[in-house]
């Protein structure tokens, strides 16, 4: 079947198109070149004056796994029927799997990636991701506090052995990338430590976070995994943590590194309130180093829930829980997490400055290919706030008007008011489509060139960018129309993106012994079979290129 999308303004940064009017052709779920005047399309959509982009890709959103379910349980009030509607699909912060897929698709997203899949929870996370309709998914494997890796490093293992370990774990858990969450810190928390800096030796394995960080970044490089090490940095939320963030950038010494929710790691401890913006220092470091990319983790005001494997940070935040309830689960295990409900208040100085720091990062980091639009759903805000965030980036007047309503001391503590940059539609298309696909190694997504998967979103160009991005006119997934005028019209299933790097299998005998002795399950049971994911019909493998990055 041939479908023609005629006359839209195409924003496709990966192929150098920035709003030029053109036609797109879709055949069998993929975009094809213009078949010529002789071909008769079976279906034609007249998109004159409309904005056409690839389906958006969320690089960092907590949509599955243990902590998400604990958050749903803890926030049971979000799932109650109300007089307005009996649906128990969940509120904004803890939507059900079904609601997650529908709400993403309704905003024009066709892929979202779970950035914190703990090895022991991987099987469950995959089952849950497969239950999310309409969008592609995948998981980043959390390493860096697992005892096997730390033991390996402490024993003086070489880069090759670490890379083999990481390679095995990625294959076994069917993951797309490697994430490190406060590497070394969570392990130190198990021994009652509340803070661990980059060059501080851990209490049990006697290795520093710097060693773990460089080992993992090196292993990712060695294995040729497209996505750089995805780092949730040190001392999240602590004033003055910018030093650790800059140390992390320096520590990898030119290796590729992705700093996630960097807004939470760009805090200074200066000024009369001992809490200040260090966005300019982080932005300057990122602008200077092409090996560094970031996603922001913008906060937006309102009720949400924070869920993280960083039990050390979550324990520090527990006293701020709103409503007053929180959970630290399995903190002695490899798959521990902390869930703390939180309400970001626009009249609170700290929250207002966090909001401004995030926007400063967006506006000061120059290259839209290396900065990504995220709220660290649900930690900074639910992903449904993306349209409002896009409006804040594209509309300076709106930004200033909003800023005027926040805590009165804010203007003295931020340079946000002086930043005149406004994102263009092309830059939004880059940071939400082309760049995420490129940095994850998804060669056939995030663009609209021939051969690309026909994940396409069509918007009406409205001056109110929030309204524009909130309700796309049409959304196609694999060439099939799934959303029309913001309403889901068809339910389809996405795919699970993975990498399968090559590694030396002799590491498995060492690991099998450790699993038998300590892990409570056999290595053979730990490994997830292809048939377990989407009934064996859902894996999408992406190539690794050792030495290419």
């Amino acid at each position: 079947m041939l479908t023609k999308l005629a006359g839209g303004r195409v924003y496709d940064p990966a192929n150098g198109r920035d709003g030029a009017v053109g036609d797109l052709f879709v055949r069998d779920g993929r975009i094809v070149a213009d078949p010529g005047p002789g071909a008769a399309p079976d279906e034609v959509h007249d998109l004159s004056g409309r904005v056409v982009m690839a389906g958006a890709i969320d690089i960092h959103s907590h949509i599955a796994g243990g902590k998400v379910n604990i958050a749903r349980l803890l926030m049971a009030e979000e799932h109650r029927p109300t007089a307005e509607g009996p649906c128990g699909c969940g509120g904004l912060a803890t939507p059900s799997t079904h609601a997650t897929g529908c709400r993403y698709a309704q905003m024009g997203y066709t892929a979202a990636f779970e950035p914190a899949m703990l090895p022991s929870n991987a099987r469950h996370a995959h089952l849950e991701m497969a239950d999310i309709p309409l969008i592609d998914t995948g998981g980043y494997l959390v390493l860096g506090n697992d005892d096997l890796l730390l033991e390996l490093l402490a024993s003086g293992a070489g880069e090759e052995a670490v890379a083999d370990y990481v390679g095995f774990m990625l294959n076994a858990t069917r993951s797309l990338a490697v994430k490190a969450v406060n590497p070394g810190g969570i392990n130190a928390f198990k021994y009652n430590q509340r803070r661990l800096d980059v060059d501080e030796t851990g209490p049990f394995h006697a290795i520093t976070p710097r060693r773990i960080l460089t080992a993992l970044a090196g292993a990712v490089q060695r294995l040729g995994i497209p996505h750089p090490l995805h780092l949730h940095g040190f001392n999240l939320g602590v004033p003055g943590n910018v030093e650790a963030t800059l140390d992390s950038i320096a520590a990898v010494d030119g290796l590729r590194l992705h700093l996630t929710h960097v807004q939470f790691h760009a805090y200074g401890a200066e000024g009369d309130r001992k809490f200040s913006s260090a966005a300019a220092r982080v932005a300057e470091a990122v602008n200077r180093r092409p090996n560094i990319s970031v996603d922001v983790g913008q906060i937006m005001f309102g009720q949400t829930v924070t869920a993280s494997a960083d039990t050390m940070a979550q324990m520090n935040n527990a006293g701020l829980a709103h409503p007053k309830k929180w959970v630290m689960m399995d903190i002695e295990c490899d798959a521990g997490c902390g869930v703390v409900p939180f309400r970001y208040r626009d009249k609170a100085f700290v929250n207002a400055l966090q909001w401004a720091i995030g926007l400063e990062l967006f506006l000061l980091i120059e290259d839209p290919w290396r900065i990504f639009l995220t709220t660290d759903h649900p930690n900074g805000a639910p992903f449904t706030s993306y349209p409002e965030l896009i409006r804040l980036l594209m509309d300076r007047d709106h930004r200033l008007a909003h800023m005027a309503e926040l805590h009165p001391a804010l203007p003295e503590h931020t340079i946000l008011g002086s930043l005149t940059r406004e994102y263009s539609l092309g830059e939004i298309a880059t940071m939400t489509r082309a760049a995420p696909a490129r940095i994850l190694g998804l060669t056939d997504r995030g663009h609209l060139g021939p051969g690309a998967v026909a994940d396409i979103t069509v918007y009406t160009d409205r001056p109110d960018r929030r309204a524009m991005f909130e309700t796309p006119d049409l959304v196609f997934k694999d060439g099939r129309l799934i959303v029309r005028d913001g309403v889901v019209v068809a339910l389809v299933q996405g795919r699970t993106h993975v990498v399968e790097p090559a590694y030396d299998p002799t590491i498995e005998s060492w690991m099998a012994r450790r699993f038998d002795e300590r892990m409570g399950q056999r290595l053979t049971h730990f490994r997830i079979a292809e048939e377990e994911i989407r009934g064996g019909n859902g894996l999408l493998r992406h190539a690794c290129q050792p030495g290419a990055f």
Binding site: A76, P81, E84, P86, K325
Partner: protein, 274 residues
């Protein structure tokens, strides 16, 4: 002032979520608004007038459900004003999150009745299930206002984490009555199951006799004269909340104080040991 009788067309079968079927809608949109309300029954959504026959009648400002049925869940959930009468029994969550008005059930009601209630009156002529006046799922507080009178018995965890208000059960209650209670008053007419008042902080539980085994965190404050009992008795008798087995005069009662294991200074008043 309008009124309406809803006759349940099929009182058996899958449960019906009655959330939103409230007497205040009589004032807001009248009969038409109620008739067009979409309700969940089992896995499907249905218009209210396909599940109930609507007829004018009943006292002004009153919504009557006839006959009641255990399949009717969430009757009076979130109610703020007016009167809702159930002629017969109803299912779980009757009067949950209620903030005002009066809900009357002439039969039994299920679990979580008055859960998360903040105001208004719930009157149950039969028995109530577990979690009467307890928190709703996800909530950190149980009942925070209003009054509940159950003529029959009630299940476990009556008044769990209760913050304010009155629960009176003329019959027996199950285990963990008033557990983790923060404040408020629970009156039990015919005795309670094990672990009453466990981890309670403040508040009062009135009992006809001491529990068979007094929880270990409670200390005996002895027999004393409590002048407030006269005032309280008058108030509760007026509200139909003074059990028939309780003494009709005198101010002496035995007081157990606890739960001291969690630093609590709540009380169990044994009113029949005068």
């Amino acid at each position: 002032m309008s009124s309406l009788v809803l006759t349940t067309r099929d009182p058996s079968g899958p449960p019906i979520d009655m959330t939103g079927v409230l007497p205040e809608r009589l004032f807001e949109g009248g009969r038409e608004a109620l008739a067009g309300l979409m309700l969940v029954r089992g896995r499907g959504r249905h218009r209210l007038d396909t599940l109930f026959k609507l007829e004018d009648g009943g006292p002004p400002g009153t919504l009557v459900l006839h006959p009641g049925s255990a399949v009717l869940d969430g009757v009076g959930t979130g109610m703020t004003a007016g009167e809702l009468r159930v002629e017969g029994e109803c299912g779980a969550y009757a009067g949950s999150a209620m903030r005002g008005g009066t809900l009357t059930v002439s039969g039994n009601c299920g679990a979580f009745a008055a859960a998360g209630m903040a105001g208004g009156n719930l009157r149950v002529a039969g028995d109530a299930g577990d979690f009467l006046g307890a928190p709703l799922a996800g909530g950190t507080r149980g009942m925070s206002g209003g009054s509940v009178v159950v003529a029959g018995n009630a299940g476990d965890r009556v008044g769990e984490r209760m913050r304010r208000g009155l629960i009176a059960v003329h019959g027996r209650v199950g285990s963990l009555c008033g557990a983790r209670m923060i404040a408020g008053t629970i009156v039990v007419g015919a005795g309670c199951g094990p672990d009453a008042g466990q981890a309670m902080r403040r508040g009062s539980i009135l009992l006809p006799q001491a529990p068979a085994s007094v929880p270990s965190g409670f200390v005996d404050g002895g027999m004393n004269d409590w002048l407030f009992l006269d005032l309280m008795r008058k108030e509760l008798i007026d509200g139909g909340a003074w059990p028939s087995g309780f003494p009709t005069g005198g101010t002496r009662a035995r007081r157990l104080i606890g739960d001291r294991s969690t630093g609590g200074i709540g009380e169990m008043l044994i009113v029949s040991e005068v």
